[in-house]
């Protein structure tokens, strides 16, 4: 409650949640602009992948390589983690610190599960000779999916650092804004994965 009284003195955003108070509004907008730039970054990697998809240089094709069960589980793990992150934000807005910690920790565990599956998928490909230098198709595949995977890795470390801050300081306008922003990042990674699932894996299985 004390936090809310304080935020009432802010001249702007009084009708918006805690994380928009003070300069939070501007910082959240800045993060949306960053995400728009990330859309462009991933679009270049998708373009390279789509152009090189058929250039297998006598190596394995996407149809031979991709495992339906594997990428389906990865997709469900990431979709569920996006949902639990959303619940973390929901609990944050109810000032429920314990709820935030629980849901965000589940998000991290699901993210780690996703990463573990992706790493074993990559290790399997490399073990059968389908490494990054095998063909233009595989170079483009590893760069696109690997860039997403490295974003997920960074996201997990980022979420954990915000969790420590929430544990120490509770839900203040500052920690609320940080948690909201890392939530946006996490949902965005799910958006990118939806396109990897659709354009790389599903399409790679039919053509």
């Amino acid at each position: 409650m004390a936090v809310n009284m304080e935020s009432l003195h802010e001249p702007i955003s009084s009708s918006l949640p805690l994380e928009y108070q003070g300069d939070g509004n501007l910082k959240i907008f800045g993060f949306w602009v960053f995400l728009a730039a990330e859309v462009v970054l991933f679009s270049t990697l998708f373009a390279v992948y789509l152009v090189f998809h058929g250039n297998v240089a006598g190596g394995p094709t996407s149809q031979q390589l991709f495992d339906i069960r594997g990428f389906t589980i990865e997709t469900f793990l990431l979709l569920t983690s996006s949902f639990t992150m959303g619940l973390g934000t929901y609990e944050m807005r109810r000032q429920n610190t314990k709820g935030v910690l629980a849901w965000v920790l589940i998000t991290v565990l699901l993210g780690l599960g996703f990463l573990g599956m992706e790493i074993s998928e990559f290790a399997h490909y490399v073990s059968i000779g389908a490494n990054i230098s095998r063909s233009a198709f595989l170079s483009a595949f590893f760069v696109l999916v690997g860039t997403h995977g490295s974003h997920v890795t960074l996201g997990i470390l980022w979420i954990l650092s915000i969790l420590v801050q929430v544990m120490r300081k509770g839900i203040t306008p500052k920690t609320a804004r940080k948690l909201f922003v890392v939530g946006l990042y996490w949902h965005f990674l799910d958006v990118v994965w939806v396109f990897i699932f659709t354009v790389v894996y599903l399409t790679g299985k039919v053509m």
Partner: protein, 102 residues
């Protein structure tokens, strides 16, 4: 003010978003692996499903509609999507043309 503590309520928005996202994924898998459609029909259908999936994330999880003042963040996202569409669409177009003439 929505940041005030309230201990009632149920996160319907999130649960509906989650159920829809799982349904869309299952539909995409079903379209590709259970139906015998022409490849181009399959790809167009799963791309449409992906767009709905993205809208669910943006509207139900990312609180896209929350703002103070003009929706500049939506404008920057639309601009990003326009550049992305141009890069991906343009690359496919020019490479298809190249393989046609060579």
């Amino acid at each position: 003010m929505s940041s005030q503590p309230s201990h009632e309520g149920f996160p319907w928005k999130h649960v509906i978003g989650f159920v829809l996202s799982i349904l869309l994924t299952v539909m995409a898998l079903w379209l590709v692996f259970s139906l015998q459609l022409p490849v181009s029909t399959e790809i167009v259908s799963i791309l449409v499903l992906a767009v709905f999936q993205v809208l669910i994330q943006l509207l139900l999880f990312m609180h896209l509609t929350e703002r103070d003042g003009p929706a500049y963040h939506v404008i920057s996202l639309i601009f990003g999507a326009f550049i992305a569409f141009t890069i991906v669409g343009g690359s496919i177009w020019i490479m298809a043309f190249r393989s046609m003439v060579s």
